[in-house]
Subunit: 376 residues, 2 copies
């Protein structure tokens, strides 16, 4: 917890859970990414936390932005950033949304299929497109699926199709999986990207750019490598696969940019047992899976917890949220150790909550208001 | 689809997915529940769909309301219903929320622990409490956990504790699991309830009420028993376990009250394959897990789909949402059969979406607005 957040929480009087993000940490993270790969443009993944103050701070530092929707593009442009600093990185776009983005000045679009390239060609003539390829995501903590990207073997065909439709076949993107702790995870994908560059060159199509995606981790329970280590490993793989013809590169940190900049303050609503002889306590907080902690799904992301009783003897607890939904349990398969002295009404700090919390919150499930967010 | 909904959708001009609920179906469902167990008070589980028009219609029909939060209690009281028609059914409540509810006139509270009874005794003197017991939920489609309820062996102790604290030990509740298709699922829980009634009677505490909970299903892909079948089975179990001293009973239908009254209209954003040889198509809709279809988690609830191409030849598809989250996949382990002729831009109807959709929707994940809801 930073001093600024500690001071903010000390004087907060409102009821209910909240996220607090310290912009100084976001700025420090931005600088670390910019230094780790100095020739790589940083496109902040807006979906991680689209708070206007965060976007404004990053705009002022020179960041570009990876947007998932026209809604996010509007938020970025509202900071005063030019549309040349926007990538419409979602591979699943309505044609009329592509058209809206194009009219707003956006010229860089993701595709992973022929069909998406055709939509873009119809309403965003001569735009740049990059093709996302599948990537196995080994080493990542947040489950990747096959949802985004095509098999690398298909990418050159998709890019050629885009080229023949009058678009600029611009490059290749991939995502090595969110919360990726293996700094070498980019190597295989960069080998595939180089192969696609060669396949396109053989067809007379010159690609320019590799989008390194996101995946840069934030610290939860375990230490994670620093941005500089990722930069070194990625640069080494770029050299290995592209020789001295290193392409233009961009990266899309989201979790790595804001995850450790924020925390959630929550309150213990109930501590109880299911029977007189139960070894486990159940600890219920005033935030759960539907209030902003969606990434606890399948217990994927395990957040560090801090209590006012830390240092006292601990015992394992099931941790759950406040709603009347039986699925609103955060950690049960692997219980959490919490102080035996923890009491109803205690405030608990959930660390590293700057990313993927505020916007995941349900509008009003069980009549609870959405998660409050403060960016200071 | 009802004629009223069909007519509404025919003239709708707005973009984006929406839920449409037909109040006539809600009214029919209410009557079916009221007739199925004529001596049982119906407490609609507000969390299933708290739309003001639904609450108003049920208020006018004489329904009572099961509320999960003070927010939901406020919504119910706004219909003009008296606080005597409210049960604060969440077993996890902040003490100040219990106090707020008590000041609003609410006198009926759920507990499943000593600690919760103590909170109620402090701020809601002489209120009625019922103790929720664990129930195995066999036969239910939406996963139950051990989150709510204590072991039946502990319930008499919790109720005695409440009684000694000056509260009215009022009864027992349980929940047989959501989307419960076995009409006999209530039998075991009613046997436990009768046992708790006897255990309390031996201590000089006379319980009055059994809360039968919810669990009444709605029709998704398969037919479900009618309300009357549940009524007959439950009444038979009440007779069996309580003899001719049948207690006051209440029930809390949520899904069964509104599930089949609504549907979602969505649009096909993209249909593509991951490779030239892929057997599966990926069909991406403009609604997904974070836009209101949270109950597709682990593919638990399988919604019926209707397309404008029904009747054409079909093939299996993975079905996914529009966000840049790789977890936003609806059905993949068990793909869905969709027409080969299905096209980008087609409208797809997702049936039986009146419950647990609107309020699960994320506030703005990926910059997409929350699900629109129309109650007609």
């Amino acid at each position: 917890m930073t001093d600024r957040i500690r001071e903010f929480l000390r004087t907060r009087r409102e009821d209910g859970p909240c996220v607090v993000v310290d912009l100084d940490v976001v700025r420090t993270n931005y600088q670390a990414f910019a230094r780790a790969l100095p020739d790589t443009r940083v496109f902040y993944a807006v979906k991680a936390n689209p708070d206007a103050a965060i976007l404004q701070a990053l705009e002022e530092m020179g960041s570009s932005f990876d947007c998932a929707s026209v809604g996010e593009i509007d938020m970025v442009l509202a900071t005063g950033a030019g549309a040349d600093r926007v990538s419409f990185g979602n591979t699943i776009k309505k044609e009329r949304d592509i058209e809206r983005a194009f009219k707003l000045g956006v010229r860089l679009f993701a595709v992973d299929s022929y069909e998406e390239a055709e939509k873009i060609a119809r309403v965003a003539p001569r735009a740049k497109v990059f093709c996302r390829i599948l990537c196995d995501g080994a080493g990542a903590e947040w489950p990747l699926s096959r949802k985004f990207g095509c098999e690398p073997e298909m990418a050159a065909d998709v890019l050629e199709h885009a080229y023949r439709l009058g678009l600029q076949a611009y490059g290749v993107s991939f995502h090595v999986g969110s919360q990726q702790k293996n700094v070498n995870a980019w190597d295989g994908a960069l080998a595939s990207a180089a192969q696609i560059f060669r396949a396109c060159a053989e067809r007379g199509i010159s690609l320019s750019m590799v989008n390194l995606g996101g995946g840069f981790p934030t610290r939860y329970l375990q230490d994670v490598p620093a941005a500089i280590s990722y930069g070194e490993a990625i640069f080494s793989s770029l050299r290995k696969h592209f020789g001295n013809a290193i392409p233009e590169t961009i990266m899309e940190p989201g979790r790595g940019m804001v995850g450790n900049a924020g925390l959630i303050e929550t309150e213990v609503v109930l501590i109880s047992k299911k029977s007189e002889t139960d070894a486990l306590r159940w600890v219920y907080l005033d935030i759960g899976k539907f209030g902003g902690l969606a990434e606890t799904m399948d217990e994927a992301i395990r957040y560090p917890l801090r209590t006012p009783r830390d240092g006292d003897d601990t015992a394992p607890c099931v941790l759950a949220g406040p709603t009347c939904d039986s699925a609103d349990v955060l950690y049960e398969k692997t219980p959490v150790e919490l102080p035996l002295s923890l009491s109803i009404g205690d405030k608990v700090i959930i660390e590293a909550c700057g990313a993927y919390t505020t916007t995941y919150s349900a509008v009003a499930f069980n009549g609870f208001p959405p998660l409050k967010s403060y960016v200071i």
